[in-house]
């Protein structure tokens, strides 16, 4: 009888206790298709970080994190299908990993009260949280990238770019065209001559563009490329003997995938970044111990420390920290997507916290606020060392020209607010 009563009491207690569901982090990955080489390391990094904190820390605030992966093939329609099929599982934050998918999901996530994080891609003016209540693009966006490249070149040229010729080789798509306006403004401000060289998708044939560069001899080339366009551009630059140290790509043109096919010829090529490169951080020892050695790595374990793996890892860290912040704000470990949004809006990334997480100097320190969903836009520069076969961070994360960028963000987000009749989110 005592046993039965005891059992009943335990059962009653269990029924009365709140059920701790997993914290669901969807991963709209692309492990197949023409861009798989870029999608796999990001998805691995994103998944491995959550596996690591589950194994090492027992999850976030004591609740296990669950990565819900859905294959988009980098296809916008499939990405939207993924969103629709996973949002009902308690998805806390979406990382669409595609500018096309991002544009489709901005109104959907806002209506569904689910936050979205588009780190270093997507709609740049979403940095204005007053208009884009559920979209975040910290710590940097495409316009910070354009300005970061010019700031770096200003430093390289003693602060003067007057009379210099700078060419932008860009993917002829909405993504590739993002920096044009910013660069035009910066060209007017600093007195350099900007030439625009679009490359049609997919970018396997770029002879025309590089013949033009050979003829015009710009001092520097900036590239906004993706996929095969990057590898072909770097090879063509080597073919015409364009100095690699004067060739600088956006962060989507700066992974190992982009430089390895050109071999030694890619030595010295530069790329912008908003996070660290390499695997010389304590967090990787934890990933090795708790994830790879335990047989729980998302992939084959061969991508750890690559640029795009680190980006996935960094995105996961920022998501986990936002979830932790949300738990603190709302006093519950079992947070909802709406609470997660609050956590993202109150996110504070400090150097002390990154060191505690085993990621010292992995990215810039920053705060997010209701008005600023884009972070500080601090940009670093990496350079490829073909001999050592590794990227090296050659500059600190430096400030970009917000005097130029902020009015562009305000104008673009203002138009969006007017078109969609959006009231202020921050008042």
């Amino acid at each position: 009888m005592k046993y039965k009563l005891g059992t009943a009491a335990v059962a009653a207690l269990m029924a009365a206790s709140p059920v701790m569901a997993d914290l669901v982090f969807p991963s709209l990955s692309y492990r197949t298709g023409p861009y798989a080489a870029g999608g796999i390391p990001f998805a691995d990094g994103y998944a491995d970080y959550f596996s690591m904190i589950n194994a090492r820390d027992g999850g976030i605030g004591g609740v296990a994190a669950r990565v819900l992966e859905c294959e988009t093939g980098y296809n916008t329609e499939k990405g939207v299908e993924c969103y629709e099929s996973t949002k009902g599982e308690g998805a806390l934050v979406y990382q669409p990993l595609s500018t096309g998918i991002t544009y489709q999901l901005i109104p959907k996530t806002t209506a569904d009260n689910i936050p979205m994080h588009t780190m270093g891609y997507g709609r740049t003016s979403a940095a204005n949280g007053d208009v884009f209540s559920h979209t975040f693009n910290y710590p940097a966006n495409y316009w910070n990238g354009a300005s970061g490249a010019i700031s770096y070149l200003l430093n390289e040229n003693g602060g003067d770019l007057k009379g210099k010729k700078i060419a932008l080789v860009y993917h002829n798509s909405a993504y590739g065209k993002e920096p044009i306006r910013t660069l035009e403004e910066l060209a007017a401000k600093h007195g350099f001559e900007l030439s625009l060289l679009p490359v049609d998708h997919p970018g396997q044939e770029q002879k025309s563009q590089w013949l033009q560069i050979r003829r015009d001899r710009p001092d520097n080339v900036i590239m906004y490329g993706w996929g095969v366009m990057n590898q072909v551009a770097i090879q063509e630059a080597a073919n015409i003997r364009f100095p690699m140290e004067n060739f600088i790509g956006i962060w989507w043109s700066g992974s190992e995938n982009d430089v390895l096919p050109a071999g030694a010829a890619a030595n010295g090529y530069k790329a912008l970044t908003f996070h660290a490169v390499g695997d010389d951080f304590p967090v990787f020892a934890d990933i090795q111990k708790h994830v790879v050695d335990a047989g729980n790595a998302a992939g084959a374990g061969d991508q750890i420390g690559t640029v795009l793996y680190n980006r996935g890892l960094y995105a996961a860290m920022l998501a986990a920290e936002a979830a932790r912040t949300a738990q603190g704000i709302h006093g519950t470990a079992d947070i909802t997507p709406a609470m997660m949004r609050d956590g993202m809006e109150a996110l504070e990334i400090t150097e002390a916290r990154m060191t505690e997480l085993g990621m010292p100097n992995f990215g810039p320190s920053f705060n997010v606020s209701c008005a600023n969903h884009g972070g500080p836009g601090l940009i670093g520069v990496t350079q490829w060392d073909a001999g050592a076969s590794e990227w090296k961070l050659i500059s600190n994360f430096a400030a970009t020209d917000m005097d130029v960028i902020q009015p562009l963000i305000d104008a673009d987000s203002g138009s969006y607010a007017t078109e969609n009749n959006i009231a202020s989110n921050c008042k």
């Binding site: 492990r31 197949t32 298709g33 023409p34 861009y35 798989a36 080489a37 796999i40 002829n172 625009l196 060289l197 679009p198 490359v199 049609d200 998708h201 997919p202 396997q204 044939e205 002879k207 025309s208 563009q209 013949l211 033009q212 050979r214 003829r215 996929g227 095969v228 590898q231 072909v232 090879q235 080597a238 073919n239 015409i240 003997r241 995938n257 390895l260 096919p261 071999g263 010829a265 084959a300």
Partner: protein, 329 residues
């Protein structure tokens, strides 16, 4: 010589070179269409598959390693050897012949006499299947292809033309190699078709496969032969394009470059593929240089190639060298 004129000539020459690379892809389509009436949507994927296999063999990669490791709990990735390029090319060709046999044995054997659209749909399925198998076999990462082909500016041409015109022309060494290979390939294919028993049988099947069957030509054998030849052409195209960009899954998209060439040159003519490739290559490059970049904002090459092909189609629906379709009622 005025620099503008010199640059126009340079663009023209580079257009010719680009056209050769387009023609290499188009040749594979022509071979299969000519012999079997099948528009092989999978030709681009065949180039990808061939290049993946070549790199995999050269680097001693274990095929299906991820699958094997996942099932058996092993950790095998490489055999630990490196195969010389010429041997790896030979072994890849064996794989492409086996693939040709399997395609014929398990797909097209059952589709003989079906409507062309059914055959076309089958090749779409084949393309996705091969892409998936290629991924499973060799993985999705970008691979460096180094079979010893020279790349970069040809110094001799640069210096010579500088001496002549005061402007050094840029011609890529890889493009020169591609042009030589294309000449050898087309010569070889024409000689094969004209002077060998199998080549004549192939032509007989192309003309009238029922008549060819009635005189003892094995349709099965000829189709395997044709798919093998297309596999060989795909391997050559895969090597040339893979050397430029690394071997990656977007390599299959090179097929898009072949379509305007086929529309212009005709689906049934090997010389047509070459001439069509050259016209498209030169046309799109000159248009971009003279009109596209200065007046239209650039990036005109993709659509202009198709527009050029469409203009030719209006006046010559069978293409420049295609067979005129005469249907008697």
């Amino acid at each position: 010589m005025p620099e503008q004129l010199a640059f126009t000539i340079e663009v023209f020459l580079n257009g010719l070179m680009a056209g050769v690379l387009y023609a290499l892809v188009a040749l594979g389509f022509v071979l299969i269409y000519k012999a079997s009436g099948i528009f092989n949507y999978a030709q681009g994927v065949m180039a990808l598959f061939a290049a993946l296999t070549l790199v995999g063999i050269m680097e001693g990669q274990v095929p299906f390693a991820h699958l094997i490791n996942a099932i058996l709990g092993t950790d095998v990735h490489h055999f630990g050897w490196h195969v010389p390029a010429f041997l790896a090319i030979g072994l890849t060709m064996v794989v492409m012949i086996v693939l040709a046999y399997l395609v014929q044995r398990f797909v097209f054997r059952y589709l003989v006499g079906q409507e062309p659209i059914i055959l076309f749909m089958a090749t779409i399925g084949l393309a996705y299947f091969m892409e998936g198998v290629g991924d499973l076999m060799w993985g999705s990462e970008i691979k460096t292809l180094d079979v010893g082909l020279p790349q970069g500016i040809n110094i001799a041409i640069d210096e010579t033309t500088y001496g002549w015109f005061g402007y050094g022309f840029f011609i890529d060494n890889l493009d020169i190699v591609a042009a030589i290979i294309a000449i050898l390939l087309v010569t070889g294919l024409v000689l094969f078709a004209q002077y060998t028993k199998q080549g004549r049988a192939m032509r007989a099947v192309a003309d009238d496969h029922q008549a060819a069957l009635s005189v003892g030509v094995s349709l099965n054998f000829i189709w395997i032969l044709v798919w093998s030849l297309a596999g060989f052409v795909a391997l050559v195209a895969g090597i040339m394009w893979g050397a430029k960009s690394g071997v990656q899954f977007s390599l299959s998209l090179i097929a898009l470059k072949a379509l305007p060439v086929l529309m212009l040159g005709g689906f049934t003519s090997i010389p047509g593929a070459i001439v069509g490739g050259l016209i498209i290559g030169v046309g799109e490059k000159l248009f971009e240089f003279l009109i596209g970049a200065p007046f239209l904002g650039g990036a005109t090459e993709n659509w202009f190639a198709y527009m050029l092909a469409l203009i030719f189609l209006v006046f010559r629906p069978q293409g420049l060298f295609g067979e005129k379709i005469i249907e008697r009622v």
